[in-house]
């Protein structure tokens, strides 16, 4: 499936959850949703979005936090799967597996085509793990995978694209944080 197609389904099914986007998804998501609950994690520390999302999910229980992560980002921080399993929270991790570092010119990630992220998630102790190899399967299973208790890991097979531009933030980080906190009803500690 195309990244945009996958995100269109997510936009329909995310409900009132926070959506944290990273890398390529940052370029597409604002065209589909641009609310205070949409957090473009850029500038970022590549690989740290799941941990950031877990912290937010633990801080605001019951809200639900969706992290849209790339496979290259996952490979930078595979240990986070163990941490997600250790601290149950309503965290929904989408791994967009395209086997490429898309925003750097399309170089293959290490282990391209061989890594079983769903298997890694299960082995880390995560109970709810889904694989969506096609758009049809994602459309059929998105609602179920995004409902109920977390953590949930969903692996979506995405067609890699060459020639992608480096994503730009839809608005300054300070503004993103301010409006996210306002929407969540929390104040800076």
């Amino acid at each position: 499936m195309q990244l945009r197609e996958a995100l269109e389904v997510l936009a329909q099914e995310r409900g009132g959850k926070v959506v944290i986007t990273t890398m390529s998804s940052i370029s597409v998501w604002p065209q589909l949703s641009d609310t205070p609950l949409d957090f473009a994690y850029i500038p970022s520390s590549m690989g740290q979005a799941p941990a950031l999302g877990l912290g937010l999910a633990l801080a605001v229980p019951g809200r639900g936090v969706i992290v849209v992560n790339g496979d290259g980002s996952m490979l930078m921080n595979l240990g986070c799967l163990v941490t997600l399993a250790a601290y149950p929270a309503d965290l929904f991790l989408l791994i967009m597996q395209n086997d490429l570092y898309e925003v750097t010119g399309g170089q293959p990630v290490v282990g391209a085509g061989q890594v079983d992220f769903a298997g890694l998630a299960r082995a880390a102790g995560i109970k709810r793990v889904y694989s969506f190899p096609t758009l049809a399967s994602w459309k059929a299973g998105a609602a179920e995978s995004l409902a109920g208790p977390g953590p949930v890991v969903s692996v979506l097979k995405i067609e890699g694209k060459l020639g992608q531009k480096t994503p730009l933030p839809p608005r300054p980080m300070a503004e993103q944080i301010s409006r996210l906190r306002a929407a969540l009803g929390v104040q800076a500690s």
Binding site: S44, G55, L58, I177
Partner: protein
């Protein structure tokens, strides 16, 4: 170095909610005190950069975390630190154990950890302060309050 019960008293005095940590042999002595205090949630991570990002998420959500790691983890976690304190401008409060610092001061260690910790912190423009060996819970709590008042991140260094 602070013992576990003293640390816990300081953290509770500052209304800290979470301790995100990856202990070393010195910080690890706090384990029992931290684990037995129900008002503090102890979060263990696999790598120090993850600790910083996890604490960042807690701060975004209005919680009051402290990160406790060894200086070796600080070295590894540079990009996460840069991102959280400079890009997201979150007031991270960190406790960093500096391996071999006591022996290094006596000229009895060739460990490079004490050599690089402060220069690394300076490079990342992270304000830092050494916690005296004789420090009390009130001293640590005062540092936390000072950081909170400033709205800036702060690393408290502990000699090991």
């Amino acid at each position: 170095m602070l013992d576990g019960p003293t640390l816990v008293r300081a953290l509770l005095a500052c209304d800290v909610t979470h301790v995100v940590w990856l202990p070393d042999s010195h910080l690890g002595q706090w384990e029992n005190a931290l684990r037995s205090e129900p008002r503090l949630q102890l979060l263990r991570v696999a790598r120090e950069g993850e600790a910083i990002a996890l604490a960042g998420g807690l701060l975004l959500g209005g919680k009051r975390p402290v990160v406790a790691i060894q200086c070796t983890g600080l070295f590894e976690a540079g990009d996460a630190l840069r991102n959280m304190i400079h890009d997201l401008k979150l007031p991270l409060f960190m406790l960093i154990g500096v391996r071999s610092h006591l022996a290094y001061q006596r000229g009895q260690s060739n460990d490079t950890c004490p050599v690089f910790t402060v220069p690394i912190l300076n490079a990342w423009q992270l304000p830092h302060v050494w916690l005296a060996e004789s420090a009390t819970a009130d001293d640590l709590a005062a540092l936390h309050r000072r950081a909170e008042t400033s709205g800036k991140p702060l690393a408290v260094l502990l000699s090991e």
